[in-house]
């Protein structure tokens, strides 16, 4: 893009102003997070993958900086710097560009966003319902009527995992692979014993450890083979995983029934009310899910307007609970958001801070409102 014409600029700025006014009227403070951000926070949170999609560069003193690839992390940093206490309830909104690189088309994108973040809200479902309602109202106020609202709930998947008896390590592995459907399925086959375990170069080590004490086993092995302890992990960390691997061999495999329950859950999709019934038959507590639906109804959003899918949110590793996306009929994503309860602690908060937020693509909304 070579820039905006006066008309395009005016239309975009009007959309932004209207959406922001909507947010400030609802009690959100208008802030301006920095465009230049320390790259470390993004890289340490999201890992290397983000580097391929962001503009990371070195300042003259050698510090790695980036152009903000989203405004959520910058808003979190603002909060941790300005709030008296990290878990003090705070409501912020903002409007401005985020910068991303699309590695597939090798193009740079400036994405104009208006968004909000609500930290330490006392009532989880009420804050979620309000955030989703604010997104819907902002889009409707821009004159867009024809759109779909897709929702998912990553908290339900966590409670499904919690409801199945298995070693903590298996639970961690399943939760981690949730984001990669193929690897998840492979792992499930392995844990139910339907797939024979493949031998690796460390299998003899695990055989040798057996029921023994893992820490002394590691210490003795390193001493005997004169292996220096390098690579930043302690004997306890290495021993901990080794002994978990040894225990895995003795653990009762996951039952076929439990695997089926997981598959059954992941297959659920449709209107939220029908889905809630199906989820309840799997033995999960749906009271929070239903309460959120009631609160949305009170805010004028009928459950029939929502489409739930258990696997929705699989590509957005950072969410921990409700996740939503608003799309036009042709699939253009106008807004997205959800709950992300771990992020603030990940970037330095000393205490857990529940958080829920949303972002609206103001440029796409401007275009959708014209058509």
């Amino acid at each position: 893009m070579a820039g905006r014409t006066p008309e395009e600029r005016e239309a975009l700025s009007q959309t932004g102003t209207q959406v922001l006014a909507h947010f400030t009227n609802a009690g959100f403070q208008h802030i301006s997070p920095d465009i230049l951000q320390p790259a470390d926070i993004f890289l340490d949170r999201s890992g290397e993958e983000i580097r391929a999609r962001s503009f990371v560069f070195t300042d003259p003193s050698g510090v790695e900086l980036c152009l903000r690839p989203d405004l959520t992390v910058p808003a979190c940093r603002y909060h941790l710097t300005h709030a008296a206490k990290a878990d003090q309830e705070s409501r912020y909104c903002y409007c401005g560009p985020a910068f991303r690189f699309d590695p597939e088309t090798a193009t740079a994108d400036e994405i104009d966003q208006a968004g909000l973040e609500w930290f330490a809200a006392p009532d989880r479902e009420a804050s979620e319902a309000q955030v989703l309602a604010l997104a819907v109202q902002a889009i409707e106020a821009a004159g867009v009527k024809d759109f779909t609202i897709r929702i998912g709930d990553l908290g339900l998947f966590s409670s499904l995992l919690d409801s199945i008896a298995m070693p903590a390590r298996w639970q961690r592995r399943l939760a981690h692979q949730f984001w990669r459907p193929k690897a998840f399925h492979e792992l499930l086959l392995q844990l139910t014993g339907s797939k024979t375990r493949t031998l690796t170069t460390i299998s003899p080590r695990i055989d040798a450890l057996g029921d023994g004490d893992a820490e002394s086993f590691v210490e003795e092995t390193l001493a005997r083979e004169t292996l220096p302890l390098v690579g930043g992990r302690s004997i306890a960390e290495i021993a901990g995983r080794l002994s978990e691997k040894a225990k895995d061999r003795k653990a009762t495999p996951l039952s076929a029934e439990d695997a089926k329950r997981m598959d059954a859950y992941l297959a659920i999709s449709g209107t939220p009310e029908t889905c809630a019934e199906q989820i309840a038959t799997l033995g999960l507590d749906v009271s929070a899910f239903n309460r959120r639906l009631d609160l949305l109804q009170q805010r004028g959003i009928a459950p029939s307007r929502l489409h739930f899918s258990a696997v929705f949110g699989r590509s957005l590793e950072y969410y921990t609970g409700l996740v939503f996306q608003i799309e036009t009929a042709d699939g253009t994503q106008l807004a997205g958001g959800g709950r992300y309860d771990k992020l603030l602690q990940d970037i330095g908060s000393p205490v857990p801070v529940p958080a829920v937020g949303l972002a609206i693509h103001t440029e796409k909304l401007t275009m959708a409102s014209k058509s």
């Binding site: 890992g47 993958e49 690796t200 299998s203 292996l227 390098v230």
Partner: protein, 228 residues
């Protein structure tokens, strides 16, 4: 049709072995200008020669600044994935073998596979509040391989030499590096992961899309193949 330009490594074993192969194929390279000149001509094939550093060759092919190039497959793939339409490998030349591998400290008795590394990366982040670091000069290859294996929670630390020393000096926990015999890794108490071979590299002749279809190229390949 204007003559094609072939880029050859300007120094080192790769240059010696490439020139030897071209000589066996009856293709003599006459350097233009002084003995240290960076241009040459292969009269029998009607091809001009540019002497560049091995890593510049991959980039020059990518940019289309040269038509043909002899370089390590590792350097070519670092610059471009195999599916990149801009270039293709025409000939594997049988010298300069080396593997690009993922290696971890031998003292990590609990780690054998990329799946283990993925788990360790998650646990490391939780315990140390920072990401596991991978030292390498192969940033592109590392990113693509780790993504294909589903390993995401790590950071790359660019390393332009003595990469194998990074875990011992504490600048990274894991490395991605090139190895031929594995003895350097062993000496540094590192082990290659079971499924950690990213690429089995050797010297290749690669061409831009345009040059691959050029008649001079077909003749060149025929002569080189016969000499292999």
């Amino acid at each position: 049709m204007s003559p094609l330009t072939l880029a050859l490594p300007s120094k080192g074993r790769l240059m010696e072995q490439a020139e030897a192969l071209f000589a066996r194929a009856g293709l003599n390279i006459r350097r233009i200008g002084s003995e240290r000149g960076y241009r040459g001509i292969m009269e029998e094939a009607g091809i001009e020669v540019a002497f560049l550093s091995a890593s510049e060759i991959a980039q020059s092919l990518k940019d289309g600044a040269v038509d043909l190039g002899v370089t390590g497959e590792d350097l070519l793939r670092e610059a471009m994935p195999p599916e990149d339409p801009r270039t293709q490998v025409l000939l594997r030349m049988g010298f300069g073998p080396a593997d690009v591998v993922v290696a971890v400290p031998e003292c990590w008795l609990d780690v054998a596979t990329m799946a283990d590394l993925d788990e360790v990366a998650v646990a490391y982040h939780q315990r140390h509040a920072r990401r596991l670091r991978v030292a390498t000069k192969y940033i592109g290859l590392t990113r693509r391989f780790f993504a294909a294996k589903g390993v995401t929670g790590y950071r790359i630390v660019e390393s332009l030499g003595a990469t194998e020393g990074a875990p011992a000096t504490g600048t990274a926990e894991v490395i991605v590096d090139i190895t031929t015999t594995g003895s350097t890794l062993k000496a540094n108490h590192l082990k290659i992961l079971d499924d950690g071979v990213i690429l089995k590299s050797q010297a290749v002749l690669a061409a831009t899309k345009m040059a691959a279809a050029h008649p001079s190229t077909a003749a060149l390949i025929a002569k080189l193949s016969a000499a292999l």
